[in-house]
């Protein structure tokens, strides 16, 4: 019945407009052929190509990482404040990505509310510095510790939860923090935010744009310029991010870091081998939160202003996307993903409102094309004999 109807419609079409129909048929034919050829290559071939690409990338990684570092160190040489601010933004997300990587990538605990720690760090610094007049470097550890405490507080109720239950509870905690910040007006000034947050100083030297006595430019006899502050902020976040990376790489070699990875691979096996799952999970949350808190304090001092608007779910989603796009657990991948996502987002500035549309579509597209992230190979932390690259497909993602 259906096919008879279709045949009738088709023959009518051919009879009425032979030329357009012929063109359409030819287009469909060529399109299908190309699609089939492309598809035929895929599956096995694509997987093979993927693996080859991953291996090449990891080999190249030996050179890519130092190269990126050199470029990162050299950014201030450009002297252009636009690139400095973009660099600061990218480095902030690199740091957040590396921080969340500890929780999601290493310990395999899906955290959808990472922005909560960022917010706690930012508001801790904002409130302490404006109330007690303390400087950035004094407050930085306090902000980190407060965020870590919040991480442990979040960790306790979720110890027994798995998978998506954990995801929704972390999301809920992120929202709770935002709602409390918005409504606790006496402490946080509510939706209006806190302004006048002190800027960081270099051993007491201020970075005032106009110069003057006691300022950085005055002390070093440099021409006063707002660029000095941007340069300084850039190096501060670079050092903080590298600290995150270094601590993560060191921790991975400690029993604690190995326990995280073991937890991600198999929680039951972990437990039966005598690993204290409670401590392992809580430290993952706490250390991830600590770096989130540092990044938050930096965010507050960079902006000199914080408001609840900066700490919405979309921030958590962006950081999580960076971690997943980079390839869970891969430090280089996270840095690359942050560069691609945040830098790319900046490139499309001209699109205005349509920018988020492109951003969302890019997320879908990258995930569909490279579900395992940009860097799809992992080097095992411990290995018997020579360390060999393994495919990311063999690495568990954790069920926690």
């Amino acid at each position: 019945m259906k096919s008879a109807l279709r045949d009738a419609v088709l023959s009518a079409l051919v009879a009425l407009r032979p030329v357009p129909v012929a063109i359409a048929v030819a287009a469909v034919f060529v399109g299908r052929l190309l699609l089939l050829a492309w598809r035929g290559r895929s599956r096995a071939a694509a997987r093979h190509a993927n693996r080859a690409f991953a291996e090449r990338l990891t080999q190249a990684g030996k050179y890519v990482a130092p190269l990126l570092l050199i470029v990162a160190l050299a950014v201030p040489l450009s002297g252009d404040r636009y690139y400095l601010h973009l660099g600061i933004l990218v480095m902030t997300y690199v740091m957040l990505g590396w921080g969340l990587n500890i929780v999601v990538g290493l310990a395999g605990l899906l955290d959808l509310g990472y922005v909560a720690f960022y917010a706690v760090g930012a508001y801790s610094y904002a409130i302490i510095s404006t109330t007690y007049g303390l400087g950035f470097w004094t407050c930085l550890p306090i902000a980190g510790i407060l965020a870590a405490i919040w991480g442990i507080m979040l960790g306790f109720p979720v110890l027994r939860l798995r998978g998506d239950y954990l995801a929704i509870v972390t999301l809920a905690f992120g929202e709770i923090i935002r709602i409390v910040i918005t409504n606790w007006v006496s402490l946080t000034n509510g939706p209006n935010g806190i302004s006048g947050i002190p800027r960081p100083t270099l051993f007491g030297l201020k970075f005032t744009p106009a110069g003057g006595p006691g300022s950085f430019s005055d002390f070093f006899h440099l021409p006063p310029s707002p660029t000095w502050r941007a340069v300084y902020l850039y190096y501060v976040i670079l050092v903080l991010a590298l600290l995150t990376n270094w601590v993560t790489l060191r921790l991975r070699r400690l029993p604690l870091g190995r326990a995280w990875e073991a937890l991600r691979e198999d929680e039951v096996a972990c437990r039966s081998l005598g690993i204290n799952v409670t401590v392992t999970k809580l430290t993952a949350f706490a250390i991830g939160a600590l770096f989130g808190g540092f990044a938050g304090a930096f965010f507050a001092t960079r902006q000199a202003f914080v408001s609840p608007e900066s700490f919405t779910f979309i921030e958590s989603a962006i950081v999580l996307s960076i971690v997943v796009l980079g390839g869970l657990g891969s430090q280089l991948g996270v840095a690359l993903a942050a560069l691609v996502m945040i830098g790319g987002f900046e490139v499309f500035r001209a699109l205005a409102d349509y920018r988020m549309l492109v951003f969302g579509a890019a997320l879908v597209l990258i995930m569909v094309l490279r579900p395992r992230g940009l860097v799809a190979g992992r080097t095992p932390t411990v290995a018997l004999g020579r360390k060999r690259e393994i495919s990311a497909e063999l690495v568990a993602q954790g069920r926690g």
Partner: protein, 304 residues
């Protein structure tokens, strides 16, 4: 007493809307084990479609409210289903069998796309609409406080119950429902036994989206204002409801929805409006501490 009764009525109405959305989350989760983050935005699209349809019908001179509502329901559900199907086809199907976080990120991307799409095509401002079904019935009067049951609330509760009844029939009595339940139990085995799993999953998204669109219409009727951001808020609440009820369980989703609705309304009425979401989320955390798989969820048996 009268005050509490009024809150009970409001809470049940709100809970019904959450329940309808939560069913979509829980159904998708049950079959392919992913959080469909774009579901809240499908709900939002449904609300916008309903508004467009109602305004369009009014422009064509269809003034009979029941007819307009019925047409809108069908229109919004149909178009939203199309959205649901497309989202699944574009963003989730290529990632089937991939690892767990890939579809999650893809879903977040899709959610951003839908939200921005509505924002740029409909504008970011809040869209108001006048009440369609004004008036109601006064149930009781106690010390000057009148308990109102508006026609709108009656319509919402009745429509939701009818839709849920049809849905239950679909899941328990039809062959599609049987395939869906089979896929939920074991996707691979269902495929081996000749069930077209891709088609079943697509239809699950279609049904979920249709239910979300109905919820969108209800939301529009109940609150009278919508904007592009309602999807996220309602989506998170509905997902909370699904988890609270035990994700994967259909009755659990409705129970969870009702609970979240009641908690929210009672907390706003007796404590503070600002912290109603904190209350809902706190109840979720507390329930999950004592029942890690929700109220009706099955225990997650782990085999080694």
């Amino acid at each position: 007493m009268a005050y509490a009764l009024q809150q009970l009525i409001n809470g049940v109405t709100l809970g019904m809307i959450y329940g309808l959305i939560a069913v979509g989350y829980t159904m998708v989760y049950g079959i392919i084990g992913m959080i469909n983050f774009a579901h809240g935005d499908i709900f939002m699209v449904g609300a916008f479609l309903s508004m467009i349809s109602l305004l369009g019908l009014a422009a064509f001179g269809i003034t009979s409210v029941p007819l307009a509502l019925a047409l809108t329901l069908i229109f919004a559900a149909a178009i939203a289903s199309l959205y649901g199907w497309t989202v699944e086809r574009l963003a989730y199907r290529p990632l089937r069998g991939s690892f767990r976080l890939a579809p999650l990120i893809s879903a977040i991307g899709m959610s951003i796309v839908l939200q921005t799409f509505v924002q740029v095509s409909q504008g970011a401002r809040v869209k108001p609409m006048e009440a369609l079904l004004p008036g109601g019935v006064q149930l009781m009067d106690q010390g000057g406080f009148a308990v109102q049951l508006s026609w709108m609330q009656v319509a919402i509760v009745i429509t939701t119950l009818v839709v849920l009844a049809v849905f239950t029939w679909l899941v328990t009595r039809t062959s599609l429902g049987r395939s869906m339940r089979a896929c939920e139990q074991d996707l691979k085995m269902a495929g081996l036994l000749g069930i077209d799993t891709d088609r079943t999953i697509s239809l699950t998204f279609v049904i979920g989206a249709a239910l979300a669109a109905v919820a969108g219409l209800m939301f529009l009727l109940y609150y009278g204002v919508i904007d592009f951001y309602i999807g996220f808020v309602a989506g998170v609440k509905a997902f909370t409801a699904a988890v609270l009820g035990g994700i994967g369980s259909l009755p659990g989703a409705v129970i969870g929805g009702l609970l979240i609705g009641l908690i929210e309304v009672f907390w706003s009425a007796y404590f503070s409006v600002q912290y109603k979401d904190v209350a809902a989320f706190s109840i979720l955390v507390i329930v999950l501490i004592f029942m890690p798989t929700g109220i009706l969820g099955r225990a997650d048996v782990e085999k080694v």
